[in-house]
Symmetry: C2
C-alpha cells in the first residue's frame, strides 16, 4: 500500500487576490470565480501554463503518443481492475442444506426455540465449508454472541491483530468474525468486503443500526446506479440481521427501542431493497438461505433471539417464505367463507400476540370467523407497480378482503404499514398496532400492553371493529391488560398464564 | 475535571468457574448465573462480604448515620445540581425583531433572495446582543459559510483551541461558531450545550444529517421522558437548519440527495417533534424566531440557500407561519366557489414549481379553478389527535375539499405525505410528487423533471385528474419537459424561460 499525502489544492495558484489558496480551504471546488476580471484571466493562464502543455501535446494539440503509452492497459486500468468490479471475482457461497437445521414442529406452538441461535448453526457450517475459499465473514459491533451466533466460534475465531493474552477468548489473526464496538467500522468493513467480491452478514441490535443510516444510504445508492451500468457485475447482497429487537429490551429499556431502520430502508429504490420479518426459526432459516444467494440487494432481516414458540415445520416454512405472505389456515376458522375479521401479523412478537388473541376469540366468541394472515416479506404489501415483490391488487384483496376489518399487528412503527398499503382497496378498514415509542425497562408482555399490541388490546380491537358493542365485550379485554400491569408491578415478571401460554386454537376450533 | 479509569467489573470476583471475570468482558451485566449451584452461592456470599457490610451498617441493619452524612446535600447531589438540570440556569435569548431583516416583497415573485443568508443576518445580531451572556453558539460540520451563515463571523469567530497562523480566517479560542467536519461532534457539542441551559442552532447539508440519526433518537427520547418528570425544567429546543438540500445539489449529485431525515424525525413522539419548510426568506425568519423561543422540542427547518423568488411580505409571512398552512389567495382563482383542483406545496422548490404550473394553467386553461395551499408547518397535515399542531378534520377539509383532486408537490419523499394524511376525508384524491431517488449532477430544473415534480408534470397531473382527456392536453406538458432535457444536454444549463421565469399569475388572473 502506498499512502500519498498532498497539500489541499496542490499546484493551484498559491494566492488569489492576495488570499492564500493552495494548501488551504480556498482551493476547495472552485478556487476562483469572477472571470470577467482580466487579472483573473491572467492567473488562470499562468496556472494552466504551469502544467507545461507544450511538453504534453504536439503542435496540432494532440496528446503525445509516448505519454499516452504510460497509462495502464486493460485490467490494470483503475475501474477495469477486477478488484474494483468485485462481481468478476465473485464465487457463489457453498451452502449446506438449511433444512437440516430445522426445528421439529409437530404442531404449531408445540415447541420453543431461539430463532437466531438456529440461524447461527447454519452460519457456522456455511463458514466451515467455505473456509478454503476465504470469502465469507460475519460482522458485529461486539454482539455476535449476544445475538446468538456463538456457534460460529466452533469453526473460526474473532479477528484480532494486536497482542494476545492467555485468557483471551477465541481471538486469532485469521479469525473470520469481525467484532468491534463500532457499527461504523463493521459497516465499512462489510461494504469493502462485498465490493471486492466476497460474502458477509452483519448482526446488530435493532435500535443501533441507525448509527450507520448514512453509510447504508450510500451503499444503496451505489447499487441503484450500478444496476444501470452493464459492465458492473452483480455482487453479493448486503445482509443485515437485526436482533435484540424493540420488543425484548427487558433489561435495557427505552434507549434500546427503535424499529425505524426499516422505515429508513424503504425510502431507497425498490429494486435494491428487501425486508423480511420471519416469525420463527424455520422461516428465518429459509430467509437466510435466500439472502445468502441473492445479488445486488440490501436484505434486512428482523428476528428475535429469545426463546419463543415455533409455528411452522420446515415444509410449511419454505412454502410460506416462498410466497412471502399467506393465510395461516391452521389458525383461521373462516374456511369456505368470508371472515368477519382479518388478523394480520408481521414480526415474531406481533405473531405471538395475534395468535394469543385468536385463542381468546375462539374461546369467548367462537362464532367470530377469523382469518390469520402472516407477512414475512414486508414488501409484498406494496403494490406491484411500486416494488418488484409487491402483490397485485387482486392477490392483495384475496387475502385482506375488500370490506372486512383488518387488525394488523406489526413489529415496527404502525404508520409504515399505512404508507405501504394506502392505495389498496380495503385500506380504509385497516387498523394497525405497533411500536409507538412507549415502554421502558419492563417485562415483554408489559411492552406489548404499553403499545396496545397485546392480545387483550387486539381482542378489544376486533370487538370494536366488527361491531359487538355490548358493555361486557367492550370492557373485558382492556381490563384484563390492566390486571396484568398490577401483577407485573408486584412480581417483576409476567403472569404465569402469559409466560406459559400455549397455542391451542386448533384443538378448540369449532369448524373442525 | 477528574478522569477515573477503572478495570471493567472492578471488585467483582476475579474468576468464576475458573474463567477470568474481573477486568474482562465476562463481568458485563450479569457476571454469574445458575444460582442453584451451591458453589455460586458461596462466591456471591464472599463477593458481598468483600464490601465489609459490618463497617457500613449497624447491628439492626441500618446504614450508619455518620456514613450517610458523607453524601452531598441539596444542590450538590448529582441530579439536583443545576448544571445537570440546565433548565434551572436557562435565560431567554435576547432576540432582535426579526421583522427588521425582512426582504421587501412588493409583489409575489418580484424579487429574489437567498433565504438562509437572510436568516444568517438575524443570527449574527442575535449572537451580538447575547455576547455578554455567553449562552448562544452556532454549530456546523464545516458548512457555516456554505449554508450562508457567514455574516455571523462579523461579530465572532470560529472556535479554535490549537496553534494559529497569520493567514488563518476567523479563528479564535473564544469563537462562538463551532465548526468541525464531523456531524457527530457538532451534535454532541450542541446536546451538551442545551442540556446545561444554553441555546444553539445546527446547520447541516440535508443529506448528511442522517449521520446523527441515532444521536437524535436518544435526545428525542430524553425529551419525551423529561416531559413527564415534573422537577426537570424545560430547556432550549434542539434546532436544525437543513440547507444545501436535495433539489439543489447541482455540482454534487446523487450522493448528496436525501430528504429522509424528516421521515426519521416524525417517528418520534409528537409532543417533541416540529418540522418546518418555509418557502422563502420572510417565512424562514418568522420560523427561526419561533424556534429560538421554543422549549423542549426538536425543530427541523428545511430551507434553501440559493437565490430564489420571494413570495410573501413580512406581514403575510408572519400570518402564514402563525397558521402553519393556508390558501394563497393571490395565487388562486377559485374565489367564492369550490376549486376544480387543489395545488398544494411544501418546500421552496415545490412551491416554485407549483406556482409556475399555476401560471401555465392560467395561460392555457384559464377556466380551470385552482386553489393553491402552502404548508410551512408539516405537522399541520396530521390529525389533531396525533399531533398537537395537527389540523382538525373540519379545518383540513375546508382547505383540501372533500372530493376535489389534490396535486401535492412535496420537498421530500412523497409517501411521507400519505403517511401523515391517510385518515383525512379526501385522501383518496391526493396525488403527491416528491423526491424518488432519481437525479444526479445536473441542473436544478432537470432534477425536478427527473422526479416528476416540475411544472409540466404538475400541469399534466392536473389535466389528468380533472378529466380533461383531449390528446392535445395530455401530450403537451410532458413533451415540454422532454424538450428541456434536450436543451440541458446541449447547453449544460436550464432554458432561459425556466431560469428567468417570473410569477405573473396575479396580472393574468381572469377573475380580477
Amino acid at each position: 500500500m502506498i499512502v500519498l499525502r498532498t497539500p489541499k489544492g496542490w499546484t493551484c495558484p498559491p494566492q488569489i487576490d492576495g488570499k492564500r489558496t493552495e494548501d488551504y480551504w480556498r482551493s476547495h471546488q472552485v478556487p476562483m470565480g469572477d472571470m470577467g476580471k482580466p487579472a483573473h484571466v491572467k492567473i488562470l493562464e499562468q496556472w494552466m501554463k504551469s502544467y507545461k502543455p507544450q511538453e504534453l501535446f504536439d503542435k496540432s494539440g494532440r496528446f503525445k503518443p509516448e505519454l499516452a503509452e504510460l497509462a495502464p492497459k486493460d485490467d490494470r486500468r483503475m475501474s477495469a481492475n477486477p478488484h474494483a468490479n468485485g462481481g468478476l471475482l465473485l464465487k457463489d457461497l457453498r451452502l449446506p442444506d438449511f433444512r437440516r437445521y430445522a426445528v421439529a414442529v409437530k404442531q404449531p406452538g408445540a415447541v420453543e426455540a431461539e430463532a437466531t441461535r438456529i440461524m447461527g448453526a447454519f452460519l457456522r457450517d456455511t463458514m466451515k465449508i467455505n473456509m478454503e475459499h476465504r470469502n465469507f465473514r460475519l460482522f458485529s459491533p461486539d454482539e455476535n454472541n449476544s445475538n446468538r451466533w456463538q456457534d460460529v466460534l466452533e469453526v473460526t475465531n474473532r479477528a484480532w491483530m494486536a497482542e494476545r493474552y492467555p485468557y483471551d477468548d477465541h481471538l486469532a489473526s485469521d479469525g473470520r468474525v469481525m467484532e468491534m464496538l463500532s457499527e461504523h467500522q463493521c459497516q465499512g468493513w462489510l461494504e469493502g468486503y462485498l465490493l471486492t467480491g466476497r460474502h458477509g452478514f452483519f448482526s446488530c441490535y435493532e435500535a443501533f443500526i441507525h448509527i450507520i443510516d448514512s453509510m447504508f444510504n450510500q451503499h444503496a445508492k451505489w447499487l441503484k446506479v450500478c444496476n444501470h451500468i452493464p459492465w458492473r457485475r452483480p455482487i453479493a447482497s448486503l445482509n443485515y440481521l437485526l436482533s435484540s429487537h424493540v420488543w425484548r429490551q427487558d433489561h435495557n429499556g427505552f434507549s434500546h427501542q427503535d424499529p425505524g431502520f426499516i422505515d429508513h430502508v424503504v425510502n431507497k429504490k425498490a429494486e435494491v431493497i428487501r425486508v423480511y420479518l420471519p416469525p420463527d426459526a424455520n422461516t428465518l432459516l429459509s430467509v437466510t438461505d435466500h439472502c445468502l444467494r441473492s445479488r445486488n440487494h440490501v436484505n434486512v432481516i428482523v428476528a428475535g433471539k429469545q426463546s419463543a414458540p415455533q409455528w411452522l415445520d420446515m415444509d410449511a416454512a419454505v412454502k410460506h417464505c416462498t410466497a412471502g405472505i399467506g393465510i395461516w389456515e391452521w389458525a383461521s376458522n373462516d374456511r369456505n367463507s368470508e371472515p368477519d375479521v382479518v388478523m394480520a401479523c408481521c414480526g415474531d412478537v406481533p405473531t405471538l400476540e395475534t395468535l394469543a388473541a385468536v385463542s381468546l376469540l375462539r374461546r369467548y366468541l367462537p362464532d367470530v370467523k377469523v382469518r390469520v394472515v402472516n407477512v414475512v416479506d414486508l414488501m409484498k404489501l406494496q403494490p406491484s407497480a411500486e416494488h418488484p415483490n409487491g402483490l397485485s391488487d387482486k392477490d392483495f384483496d384475496a387475502l385482506f378482503t375488500t370490506d372486512k376489518p383488518v387488525i394488523f399487528a406489526f413489529h415496527g412503527y404502525p404508520w409504515l404499514i399505512h404508507r405501504l398499503t394506502y392505495r389498496r382497496t380495503n385500506h380504509k378498514n385497516l387498523h394497525v398496532r405497533g411500536y409507538k415509542e412507549e415502554g421502558t425497562t419492563t417485562t415483554p408482555f408489559d411492552m406489548a400492553v404499553m403499545n396496545d399490541l397485546d392480545r387483550f388490546h387486539l381482542v378489544a380491537d376486533v370487538i370494536d371493529r366488527i361491531g359487538l358493542r355490548g358493555s361486557h365485550h367492550q370492557a373485558g379485554p382492556p381490563r384484563q391488560a390492566y390486571r396484568t400491569k398490577h401483577y407485573i408491578a408486584e412480581h417483576g415478571e409476567d403472569m404465569p398464564e402469559i409466560r406459559q401460554w400455549k397455542w391451542s386454537g386448533a384443538v378448540r376450533r369449532k369448524t373442525d
